[in-house]
């Protein structure tokens, strides 16, 4: 399986002056997978994708996409990848079909083939009836769909998506995912995406969690969640420190006090709640039980939740970086 990896990075790194943006990323993506690259803003996701797509020159390490080295044969890599950026990169002055034609010309698709291919792709993303409208008049979701069509126009082996659903409403987001899954099934496409939406990462076959320029965990979402394994019980009490002492002595469980209150890890959180309420002497204001999510996984590996940017130098609050 490792032999036919369609994306492979070994010790891939990028420095900007003295600052290290990406620090030795190792990755392998098998053909036909939806691979998610999960991390907070500024973790090095976009830089990594930029290096894999030959837009950013790596400082060290190697990367191969579709069997071609990104440094030695960038043109072959470019021929085999489609790319969707965080922001819309359509030409708003041109119509939908002109945008696709532009791409077809740029990629040197034979003209006769390009015409049918453009029709197919417009059909596939349900924009056939808007083909001659200027992109200026399109909604965010329509733009994204058109960009997917454009990214796949030259039949790439890998589609890279950098934060594909940022700024879209939930309904559109679901629709985009439906399109992506359909493309994958019909075209055997490999999808490589970055996201900081945990819900989106759950759509992936495998995910890699990146933080501060390095991959801290990698595997199928279910396996990553199993690593955390335990539920998280978050309590708000009259005196969190006293409650923590009580939890330690009476339940033999450990926890920590943070901004969100007292957090306790337990194999079965729901069972613990009634006993906690009965035995704690301090007043309990609220209890929340959370099953492991990718957010938990992220927290487990990085010591931060994905939403709180947090000071860059803050030590881990829970767990440790492995």
């Amino acid at each position: 399986m490792t032999d036919d990896a369609v994306v492979r990075a070994t010790g891939l790194g990028k420095d900007y002056g003295a600052r290290t943006a990406v620090d030795g990323v190792d990755l392998e993506v098998a053909p036909g997978q939806v691979f998610g690259f999960l991390g907070p803003n500024g973790a090095g996701k976009s830089t990594t994708i930029g290096m894999l797509c030959t837009v950013i020159r790596p400082t060290r390490g190697r990367a191969e996409v579709a069997g071609h080295d990104v440094l030695r044969s960038p043109d072959e890599v470019r021929q085999n990848i489609g790319l969707l950026f965080q922001e819309s990169t359509l030409d708003a002055d041109l119509t939908a079909v002109e945008n696709l034609r532009f791409q077809a010309e740029l990629y040197g698709l034979p003209r006769r083939h390009a015409r049918t291919r453009i029709d197919t792709m417009l059909d596939l993303v349900d924009l056939a009836d808007r083909r001659d409208d200027p992109v200026r008049l399109f909604s965010g979701g329509m733009c994204r769909r058109l960009e997917i069509a454009r990214g796949l126009l030259h039949t790439p082996k890998v589609l890279f998506l950098d934060e594909p659903t940022t700024g879209l409403d939930a309904q559109t987001r679901v629709a985009i995912w439906e399109h992506l899954h359909r493309m994958r099934e019909e075209a055997g496409l490999t999808v490589f995406l970055t996201t900081h939406h945990l819900s989106e990462a759950e759509n992936c076959d495998r995910i890699a969690i990146i933080d501060r320029g390095g991959v801290v965990a990698e595997g199928p979402p279910a396996a990553l969640k199993a690593v955390v394994g335990t539920d998280l019980v978050t309590l708000r009490t009259g005196d969190d420190q006293a409650a923590l002492r009580a939890v330690r002595t009476r339940f033999g469980l450990d926890g920590d006090v943070g901004a969100e209150g007292l957090r306790i890890r337990a194999a079965n959180g729901a069972h613990l709640v009634p006993r906690l309420c009965a035995e704690l002497t301090v007043p309990v204001h609220s209890v929340v039980v959370t099953e492991p999510t990718l957010d938990e996984v992220f927290l487990h590996h990085t010591g931060r939740t994905i939403r709180e940017p947090g000071p860059r130098t803050a030590g881990p609050a829970v767990g440790s970086r492995s």
Binding site: Y16, G50, C53, T54, V55, I56, R57, D75, E76, R78, Q79, I81, L83, F85, Q86, E87, S88, T89, L90, D91, D93, L94, E98, R101, F102, Q103, E105, L106, Y107, G108, L109, P110, H113, T116, R117, D119, T120, M121, D123, L124, L152, H154, T155, M183, E186, A187, G188
Partner: protein, 277 residues
């Protein structure tokens, strides 16, 4: 729903390398031309400036200068001003494309950067030549006869416009913020224009400024147009144009200088284009 074309169809055979590059040049050129054609207001606005110079400033100065028709002298300079407008527009669209990400989209295409730059410059040159033609249509108004020599003038304008666009592209790939780009271009254009002999004869300037005039490549571009202009109204008494050790450089050398500048700008811009980070 049955589809006639399978999205998983095997990747088509891509056309040969050179053909692909040429198609990329063509499509970038076409994009600029389409965008140019759709923005009629921009076209009209860009012509206002040169026409104000020609008809108002030119007419006013002709009156105070007595004998000579200053508009005839101003005509090459005004053509020169007209063809440089798209350079700014193409430059701005590059800076804009960078911000909107369209530039990155082009940069991941399997095409040489030189082809991208060439396509953009040809697009700008086409638009510039069109502006030039619009102003040139007024030749009769300022006493320039409609002679076949004007075809040569148009070709020169095309070259100058290409050079301007190439420099605009070069500035755009070096300057990443749209505000800075506009400031830099405006700051650069005014002295380049005034020190080129486009608006008034440079021979009246003091020595140190005369050096700047000699070093300004635009001087030779304006002079080339002035010397090609039919009818003999483009010269002013006492104005000799740029002098090298007391002689006037040949017309072909002047145009060669302009072409060299274009080649240099395209080469450097292509190099810089590759370094997106």
């Amino acid at each position: 729903m049955p589809r006639t074309v399978d999205p998983a169809a095997p990747a088509p055979v891509h056309t040969a390398r050179l053909g692909r590059e040429l198609r990329a040049v063509r499509v970038l050129w076409l994009r600029e031309v389409i965008r140019f054609g759709r923005n009629r207001l921009r076209v009209a606005m860009a012509l206002v400036g040169p026409l104000v110079f020609l008809l108002i400033l030119g007419t006013g100065l002709s009156a105070v200068m007595g004998g000579a028709d200053f508009r005839g002298y101003l005509f090459p300079g005004v053509l020169f001003m007209a063809v440089q407008a798209p350079a700014l527009a193409v430059g701005i669209s590059i800076v804009w494309d960078r911000q909107s990400g369209f530039l990155r989209q082009m940069l991941v295409a399997p095409v040489r950067r030189g082809a991208l730059v060439a396509g953009l410059c040809l697009g700008g040159a086409t638009a510039g030549t069109f502006y030039g033609l619009c102003v040139l249509a007024l030749a009769g108004v300022v006493g320039v006869p409609y002679s076949p020599r004007l075809v040569l003038v148009v070709l020169e304008l095309a070259l100058i416009s290409f050079t301007f666009t190439a420099m605009g592209v070069l500035a755009a790939v070096c300057i990443r913020r749209i505000e800075s780009f506009q400031v830099v271009i405006n700051l650069a254009m005014t002295p380049l224009l005034f020190l080129s002999g486009a608006v008034f004869p440079a021979s009246g300037l003091p020595g140190w400024l005369a050096v700047a005039v000699q070093a300004n490549p635009m001087t030779y571009a304006v002079d080339a147009v002035r010397r090609t202009m039919p009818g003999g109204t483009a010269g002013l008494p006492g104005d000799t144009g740029p002098q090298w050790w007391g002689t006037t450089p040949p017309l072909t050398l002047e145009l060669g200088l302009v072409a060299l500048l274009a080649a240099l700008a395209v080469t450097v811009a292509s190099k810089r284009f590759a370094h997106t980070d």
